[in-house]
Symmetry: C2
Subunit: 341 residues, 2 copies
């Protein structure tokens, strides 16, 4: 059973992995991307993965067999286990929770394609739909507080040996620190202004245009004012909404469209860079503010795309500051002008 | 002039670099450590660096000439500039500060040696002494709030092309987020218990021993309970002290000794891994709690050593969680048993 441990000073949670645990003498190499083996994610290899949890399938095709378009399975080496109870306990000044949670893999295509940017808008739209379905399913589990969907593309972004387009989701039994920071920050802004900080940010960016890359119906993609990384991009719904899982089918398609355009632009801008994307949405069980207000009003879901082109060094670890060697306005201009085709 | 920008949601600061700025089309390679050129840090090349700010020198040797043991110069491409004023200003919802601060390089040896672990205890002790002197000097500058000393060893830890042992310091005009988190967390603990959380942590770790690697007079090295990274190590003074810069000469030597032992053990344990270390100490201008209490009582300076053996991926960026594939107790046992000679 993995263990969640809390740093007694900062309150930061750490997962001490057991399924992926290594022996101390196994950290000798600093390998940079080993060879690719047989792909368990391709159509026809369904029995090389853990059993199917969910799939978009052709009519009459059978579970764990060909005929699917998007397929969800448990991670073969999960960071958190779906079985068990939290068993919160202490050990002197330390806090420990059993590593209960979900860790699933969303296989984005039956074909052996590496980058989601190279899938069709229809296919990416199916992937977005599957994300919403997993939110709805996992929200039912009372032990879980937050669900993060993310993608690791390329070795230095944490991508695996097998280059088959997929994303992952991890559902955690505690609210993660970074999400809490966003929630707390946007609540503070709301309490002062009675407006959503993301809505204000979108309005200001659309007025000035200098950091906007592209707009499609319902969505905008921009380089954030305080970018941590060169070519960092945020995709935000233009209309206020705290909850990704309720977006409509047409919106799923528009989101797929803007995501594809941005990822293709990045691919051209920086020679197919490794990247992560993360989906930040409201936690499952939303706390109330005062008598009736929920965070529905002050939080705004969005996707953050982080190309991995710089190295994180001691200064960043020690301070939480980031150093961005590319002014966001220059990055936005370059991405606006570069063609995605 | 570099610009400090604040994320309007989380309050995270970012430095938009100008001296190290790149054009958008310069991010095409993901190079892993280019060739080494002529070393400007070796004795005899003093005019290849910016002018000397401080040095430990033989009697009668001249500034910017051979005869030094440890030498401090400005960074040739500083992230922050020492000249100018902060000029705090807003732009709609955004906050901006001029990038005023210090960015210096501490050259740890006149000889071309890469890893501080390979210097003598006497020489490392001189480096610790030089750190304290820079704290005392830069504290006089009223614009500066915090000073971080850090080291980037090896390419994937952010180390440079030139492999000559050195550390860096950056002094910032705002208190960094991660430091504030530690200060706030330890203050909260102090307010509840009237004791320093680090002192309690040290006492508990010394009782249980399972995560302690080694003790020397005045210091302990341990693997933290909630390690973020395999072989993460903290070095802490056993007696309460919030301020690194006031440590005595004998303590500088003991610190040098334990630092050398730990870094040699890591070198053996993980095949000379890339690593960062960071020195966390109290901010320059310490806020008062209530009428007379300062953070002197609730904060405890320490060094965090982070070997860079794992990749940080989307889940970590999205949540602030870390996944550690090596249980801290196993890491501590391995490091205890491996000989440093």
């Amino acid at each position: 059973m993995p263990e969640l441990r809390k740093d007694p000073i900062t309150g930061r949670w750490v997962i001490i992995a057991t399924e992926r645990a290594k022996r101390p003498d196994q950290f000798v190499g600093h390998s940079e991307g080993p060879k690719e083996g047989k792909c368990p994610f391709c159509e026809g290899s369904e029995y090389d993965t853990p059993p199917e949890l969910y799939a978009v399938r052709k009519a009459h095709s059978r579970l764990n067999s060909p005929g699917w378009q998007v397929r969800v399975v448990n991670s073969i080496k999960p960071f958190l286990n779906i079985e068990g109870n939290l068993d919160r306990h202490g050990k002197g000044i330390f806090d420990i929770v059993h590593g209960v949670g979900a860790h699933e893999v969303i296989i984005e295509t039956p074909r052996h394609i590496a980058n989601i940017a190279d899938l069709s808008v229809e296919q990416i739209s199916r992937v977005m739909h599957v994300y919403t379905q997993r939110f709805k399913e996992l929200e039912k589990d009372e032990r879980l507080k937050y669900l993060l969907v993310f993608k690791n593309y390329g070795w230095s972004a944490g991508g695996g040996r097998i280059k088959h387009s997929r994303s992952q989701l991890i559902a955690t039994p505690v609210n993660p620190k970074r999400v809490k920071e966003e929630l707390a920050g946007s609540r503070k802004y709301f309490e002062y202004h009675d407006r959503c900080v993301y809505c204000d940010l979108i309005r200001q960016e659309l007025d000035f245009k200098e950091r906007v890359i592209i707009e499609v119906d319902g969505f905008v993609a921009l380089v954030p004012f305080a970018s941590r990384f060169p070519f960092e991009v945020w995709i935000l719904p233009k209309n206020h909404n705290c909850d990704f899982s309720v977006i409509s089918q047409p919106h799923q398609k528009n989101l797929a469209k803007i995501l594809k355009i941005i990822l293709l632009k990045l691919k051209k801008a920086a020679n197919d860079p490794p990247y992560n994307y993360i989906l930040h949405t409201a936690p499952f069980r939303r706390p109330k503010i005062g008598y009736w207000k929920t965070i529905d009003q002050d939080y705004h879901w969005h996707i953050e795309i982080i190309p991995r082109l710089t190295r994180v060094a001691g200064f960043e670890w020690g301070t939480g500051f980031y150093i961005c060697p590319l002014p966001p306005e220059n990055a936005a201009k370059f991405l606006r002008e570069i063609s995605e085709v």
